[in-house]
Symmetry: C2
Subunit: 472 residues, 2 copies
């Protein structure tokens, strides 16, 4: 521990009490590595403020002693954006004690909640007043609202409701100078200069610490229907989505799954079975919801799918008969990554291209990767309607145990080059963090890098906010 860190910790303990300063290494240990165990950091202390004023106090101390802070929520990020540097030169700033839901209003369709509130907790609170916060993702039981905001998280319902950027109505944050930005008023229209709210969304804690957010709510789900369809290729899958979208606004999930990914799930995950008989090269999982109790959503989705089948957009389709089956359909989608890991080494890429270009991109990029790296299997699955898929490259059956470490970087560069040539993004929803920083630096335009550095330096001239993340 440096002298500056010691002084900061003493001051923080004196001002905020012992609960706000954790130095027991056993307590800190679970939080210094990313959850996938790929990046290991170190921190001599974890600060755990319980209020916005306490965060401001800590940030002022960090500025005074020039000790950087690494803000952290549920530590479920995919890019190691909340993992401290390995040399112990920064302190963890855990936001988990800031876990109050300040208000939930069905009338205003708005919830105001602190950064440390867990997503599932907010889901429950909205449900209690007959409303719903529509964003959801696998880590809902442990990810926090601050982390979701700072990474502009997406998930499976983006098609209808957008990412966090669309759902955040306001941000409260402590800026690097210790001042408190209060954007929580929930104004629907406000044109008083640059939007600091929008700048903080997706900034990965590099421009300040998000302490609370105002979130838009939508009416609770009165009914949902989940269907599974087999299609010949991703082009037909997108045609099917366009067909549905032209006729209804009830579709809120539309996930693409290649048959070979499904086969791995069926092989490795117990108690799974294929929704459809007979092989379809590609599958789509469709979720439709309504907030109107008088709408028979199952009948509506069935009618639409029947019409789509008649037009040859899908080879077969089946509606989940009940909630249990609906969950089983979703489990097939959610377990792909786990099944792939069980099968062998897998290299994941979270990418996007324009929606209309995605079907051709999946086919083209898969073929190019498999040709350039003989033995691997490349495929894409996920949020087709958002132009965002998880492009996974799996090691061949006889790959060396160190395939991932030896070939991973080269394959990723190859994929990222294809994505960039297609006008796409090498990080559709996971952010840059530490893991994608080198690739971002390699592929972003010099003008963009200059602008990002300038903004970072302008708001955080001392470099105390989440060093080594996002900004190349």
């Amino acid at each position: 521990m440096t002298e500056a860190e010691t002084l900061l910790i003493e001051q923080a303990a004196a001002k905020l009490g012992p609960k706000a300063v954790i130095t027991d290494t056993r307590e800190i240990e679970p939080w210094v590595s990313d959850w996938r165990g790929r990046v290991h950091g170190a921190a001599p202390a974890m600060l755990a403020p319980a209020s916005t004023d306490e965060v401001a106090e800590i940030v002022r101390l960090a500025a005074e002693y020039r000790v950087p802070l690494v803000p952290q929520g549920g530590n479920t990020g995919m890019a190691a954006g909340a993992t401290p540097p390995a040399d112990g030169s920064a302190l963890l700033l855990s936001m988990r004690r800031m876990n109050r839901i300040r208000s939930v209003s069905a009338e205003n369709r708005l919830a105001v909640a602190e950064a440390g509130v867990i997503l599932a907790t907010l889901h429950d609170a909205a449900h209690e007043v007959g409303m719903r916060f529509p964003l959801t993702l696998g880590a809902r039981g442990s990810c926090t609202l601050g982390g979701l905001t700072s990474t502009n998280a997406g998930g499976t319902q983006v098609l209808k409701f957008g990412t966090m950027r669309s759902l955040v109505a306001g941000v409260e944050a402590v800026l690097p100078d210790g001042s408190i930005h209060n954007g929580l008023s929930g104004l629907k229209k406000d044109n008083r200069g640059y939007s600091l709210d929008q700048l903080l969304i997706g900034a990965e804690g590099t421009l300040g610490v998000v302490t609370a957010v105002a979130l838009r709510l939508v009416p609770a789900i009165a009914g949902r229907a989940v269907a599974w369809a087999g299609v010949t290729d991703p082009i037909k899958a997108l045609d099917l989505l366009r067909f549905l979208e032209a006729r209804t606004n009830v579709i809120e999930g539309f996930e693409l799954l290649p048959q070979d990914s499904l086969d791995l799930v069926l092989k490795h995950i117990p108690n799974t079975r294929s929704p459809l008989d007979g092989g379809h090269a590609w599958n789509v999982l469709i979720e439709a919801t309504t907030s109107d109790p008088d709408t028979d959503i199952g009948a509506e989705l069935e009618r639409l799918l029947a019409a789509a089948l008649q037009q040859g957009l899908a080879g077969d389709a089946v509606l989940a008969a009940n909630e249990g089956q609906a969950e089983a359909f979703w489990k097939l989608r959610d377990d792909i990554s786990e099944a792939e890991r069980t099968e062998g080494q897998t290299l994941a890429h979270d990418i996007s291209v324009p929606v209309a270009d995605m079907p051709a991109f999946i086919l083209d990029a898969s073929a190019k990767v498999e040709a350039a790296f003989p033995g691997v299997t490349a495929t894409g699955f996920g949020h087709l309607g958002d132009g965002n898929i998880h492009f996974h490259v799996r090691a061949g059956a006889h790959a060396a145990p160190d395939w991932y470490d030896r070939e991973g970087e080269q394959i990723t560069r190859f994929v990222d080059d294809l994505v960039t040539a297609a006008g796409g993004s090498i990080s559709a929803e996971h952010g840059i963090g530490q893991l994608k920083r080198a690739e971002f630096a390699r592929l972003a335009s010099p003008g963009r890098i200059h602008a990002l550095r300038a903004i970072k330096h302008a708001l955080d001239p001392l470099g105390i906010m989440n060093p080594g993340k996002l900004v190349p």
Copy 2:
């Protein structure tokens, strides 16, 4: 003309040709004052680039010679944000020659158009492919997409579709260092660092020059219905809106009008008549639309209003019998400002507070203003569902001719203090520009002002982009 300006103009003419450099004062004259004639500037030349590369060239010259630029579209702004300084120290940068619609796609629900395209032209282009760009406002025949983006414009359809911030899918801009930011790919998900798009929206040209935008389209209107209802007070008006919103998603306009504003329209604007007999203290104008040709939108709105009348939410209501009557209803709303100007001196405030607080705010603030400034009439009208009204203070019948100039500032400060105390915004949709800069500086938090200045200085260290606007 300074020596630097002369050199820049010579260089620009040499590089871009004579069409891109206008020095004829008669040609420049209409563009150096704001359209309401309240702020008069001067510019020794107007630069008129025809492409993004030409804009970049001009910005590089501006940086080289340290001559500031004032970007301008249709010059229809309400805060003199596109009016050059009076001392001739900056050049006008007219974007009107950049008027190409680059693409319109019904399939992708996206249009890409240059900054100088006039809003009505885009409306027509979207209509031609069976789609619609939903944002609209009074100046639609002359305002440009670049100006709309740079001011995060709102208008009358914000309730359903949001402001420009919600409708812009990407921004192309020339940054102050002459680099081109290209955000036009139309990616639905992209988490590669700070959103420059969002930073440029509403930046009033102070961080760069918007050269083109990608805009979200929605399906064309298949039917619309317009209704007029009389209510006892703004609280009942909001209750009526909540009632409708809980039952339908077809409402896209909901405008509040006090009876005394309506009376002025009926008095001063020829060929107007009241939609309802009998006095209602307040009125609402309701627009419902559908993109589904099978929906009888008139019948649906009539049914909903009948139910609302039965619950006592409105005193009376009438549906426009045809398009002509629908237009006549809207004209009553659109002519309020003109009628008020005909009646006498009027001080306008474009303000917002949280939606739920707006009804009480209108009543409370009107009473306080009338008590503090005896003889004046204060009232609010406009976008109740967005929490954004135009709060107008009218001079009394015997006010001195210089009432506006003598008392305006004091009254505005009084109103702005009330708005700020209510957690609202002193500029809901018009921006800060020149006209609201002093009030913004007076009322914004020091932390916010510091952050805005830091961002401005970081991206525009030479101060060449729209000097004297927005940033206090």
